[in-house]
């Protein structure tokens, strides 16, 4: 992160020809690594665009002779209801857990009460547990209240188990807003909600962007809850894709087209809002 030109030139002067001579090795290695990451993408796209009959193992890497967009149409027809389920699930669970997390983060960073140092780690532990350890009671609970197999049941699960990470990110985010700003508002007579709506909330737009991206991606991609708690009609896209691709006599063009459909929403978010995506990713490691 050398922003000053001074140290930049210094760096060049101390390492003259040597740096230049080896520079192509750096680019070669980076290009090879990029190939490793992009090869699967190439394979997915060409396979999805081939006629089913033209997909043979030996010609895997060949470009399609005729470009066939039909697989996307078929995959879309099969997956549209599942994509809709995933969208409803991810949007509603993200909004609910983000709003609750924002409130929790506000309380935990600005209204520290006795015992908060014990409560907070206990809350955080919830985001690391293997969900297998709560899966059987969760399944029983949702069945008892009549939400098993219903999309709403899955939404409830994602909201609750999303609370630790959203609380963590907002707590770290609000901790950086100086208390003196709050004190000024308090003198003006603002109470608990006044401070939140007038000061914290307007300042938390980028915090919300980080949390929303993180939660949306996690929930869209999640599989364990999805496969355990849903029925055919409430399946999200991950379960439908796993079912389609898991069948034995399968034409590979469909799973590949389906993979692209399933990946697009999170990929678009990543490419457009990558900066915030990385921030959420770094926030996931507690210290923030």
């Amino acid at each position: 992160m050398t922003t000053s030109t001074d140290s930049l030139t210094l760096g060049r002067r101390t390492q003259p020809g040597r740096r230049g001579r080896w520079r192509w090795v750096i680019y070669l290695l980076l290009t090879l690594a990029a190939l490793f990451y992009l090869l699967p993408v190439y394979l997915v796209v060409v396979t999805a665009l081939k006629e089913p009959a033209a997909i043979t193992l030996a010609d895997t890497w060949r470009l399609p002779e005729t470009w066939n967009w039909g697989s996307f149409v078929t995959a879309w027809e099969a997956f549209a209801p599942k994509l809709r389920n995933s969208m409803v699930l991810a949007v509603s669970a993200t909004v609910a857990s983000a709003l609750m997390g924002s409130m929790n983060g506000y309380v935990l960073s600005k209204w520290r009460f006795p015992g908060a140092n014990v409560v907070f780690p206990l809350m955080l532990f919830g985001m690391f547990i293997p969900y297998q350890a709560i899966l059987i009671p969760l399944f029983q609970f949702l069945r008892d209240i009549g939400l098993y197999g219903d999309l709403l049941g899955l939404i409830v699960a994602h909201v609750v188990y999303g609370l630790p990470i959203t609380t963590l990110i907002f707590r770290n985010f609000y901790a950086e807003i100086p208390d003196s700003m709050l004190d000024a508002a308090k003198i003006d007579g603002a109470g608990f909600f006044g401070i939140y709506t007038r000061i914290l909330f307007p300042l938390s737009i980028s915090g919300f962007v980080v949390v929303v991206i993180w939660q949306f991606t996690q929930i869209w991609n999640e599989f364990l809850f999805a496969v355990t708690l849903t029925r055919q009609e409430s399946q999200p896209i991950t379960v439908a894709l796993a079912q389609l691709a898991g069948g034995e006599a399968v034409n590979w063009n469909l799973p590949m087209a389906g993979s692209i459909l399933a990946a697009l929403p999170t990929l678009i978010i990543y490419i457009v809002l990558g900066r915030y995506f990385i921030r959420g990713l770094l926030a996931g490691s507690v210290k923030g």
Partner: protein
């Protein structure tokens, strides 16, 4: 007025506290109870809305670790061990390498970063589906060498039953005791150097005791009356590659953030002292990345212990050679309705994750309070 606000603040937090208390701790307690019961052994009660279940003590755990039928669970633990090991080595090594390359003030750094990190945005199910196609026996990766005129590879990535590095399950207590002995010996040595002689003595005694117990063949503990061989299933190699493909961008981002945090003055000072560019990394930069490596190991390690969807998508949900406890728990509970056994597997998984996560949470939050 102010104390009133405090009450409001607590009341706003309360719903989340109650929800997490029930859904995390209440449910874990319930799973623990189920794991100590006989739920599922009577098929008529298995799916009853209010099943009649009875306390069964540690029977389910005993079956998992020493029962004849549950050999699959023990191989699953071995699978998880090797998967975690290679997954960590792969993601940390590749991530660090890429971060160092990107730190050389390269052109198009943003483009490279985007390429290395994009798989992290994908679902494990998508990655698994894609890599399953990449690793077909007569296609994908195996025919890549043909593009440059070489003979194709023959390796059956996901279906091979080849197993290497075999060992007897009965020697696991000896391995564990040996590892504990080495750890205690190391801690004793450190305590001795710091002058804590009493603590060093206690730890040395523990080390010698455990070491002796391990070397003499762990007398007093017999898991199985016969040898039972386990080892590294080579079908996991492809799964590790796919997992590293997906997650190495994450370590790259962590390390790059860490490298950017190393002040340029520090590197400059080392260069002035005559250090080569390699020496600057070796002696100045890398030692500063220790804490990042530790937290990356913990985050990735707990993901690896829980790995579930990637294997489901790559090798199928019911493939014994590529099974892991997280998958077996699902199969036992929701396919076979053997809920008590599923709960016992879940508790083993929870204990493994907790041993990694609890110290991490404690140390990182304690540091925060001090700051």
């Amino acid at each position: 007025m102010r104390s009133n606000d405090r009450l409001v603040a607590f009341l706003m937090l309360l719903p989340s506290l109650v929800l997490l208390a029930i859904f995390v701790y209440g449910f874990i307690g319930r799973t623990a109870w189920v794991s100590l019961s006989n739920w599922g052994s009577d098929p008529t009660q298995a799916l009853a809305l209010d099943p009649q279940i009875a306390f069964a003590g540690l029977a389910n755990y005993r079956k998992l670790f020493t029962g004849i039928i549950d050999v699959r669970f023990r191989q699953d633990l071995v699978n998880t061990f090797f998967f975690t090991l290679f997954f960590l080595v792969g993601t940390l090594g590749l991530g660090l390498g890429l971060a160092i390359l990107l730190d050389q003030k390269v052109r198009m750094e943003g483009l490279f970063r985007t390429i290395f990190l994009f798989p992290f945005a994908l679902a494990f199910i998508v990655t698994g589906t894609v890599w399953r196609w990449m690793l077909q026996p007569q296609g994908g990766v195996n025919v890549l060498p043909e593009l440059v005129g070489l003979p194709p590879l023959e390796f059956r990535w996901l279906t091979t039953r080849q197993q290497i590095w075999q060992f007897d399950w009965n020697s696991v207590p000896a391995f564990l005791a040996g590892a504990a002995a080495v750890t205690f010996a190391f801690m004793a040595w450190r305590a001795w150097r710091r002058g804590a002689h009493v603590r060093a003595g206690v730890q040395a005694v523990l080390a010698v005791g455990l070491g002796g117990w391990a070397v003499t063949g762990t007398p007093g503990v017999t898991l199985l009356p016969y040898p039972e061989m386990h080892g590294f299933n080579m079908a996991f190699i492809g799964i590790v590659i796919a997992a590293v493909w997906q997650m190495s961008g994450y370590t790259m981002a962590l390390y790059l953030a860490g490298l950017r945090g190393v002040p340029e003055e520090l590197r400059e000072a080392a260069r002035v002292d005559g250090a080569s560019e390699f020496g600057v990394y070796r002696h100045v930069v890398l030692p500063l990345l220790g804490p990042i490596t530790l937290s990356a190991m913990i985050i990735l390690g707990h993901i690896s212990l829980k790995i579930f969807d990637l294997i489901w998508a790559m090798a199928g949900s019911d493939n014994a050679t590529t099974d892991v406890p997280a998958l077996l728990m699902y199969l036992r509970s929701f396919r076979a309705n053997a809920f008590a056994e599923g709960a016992a597997i879940a508790m083993v998984l929870l204990i493994m994750v907790a041993t990694v996560i609890v110290p991490y949470l404690r140390s990182s939050l304690r540091g925060e309070v001090r700051r």
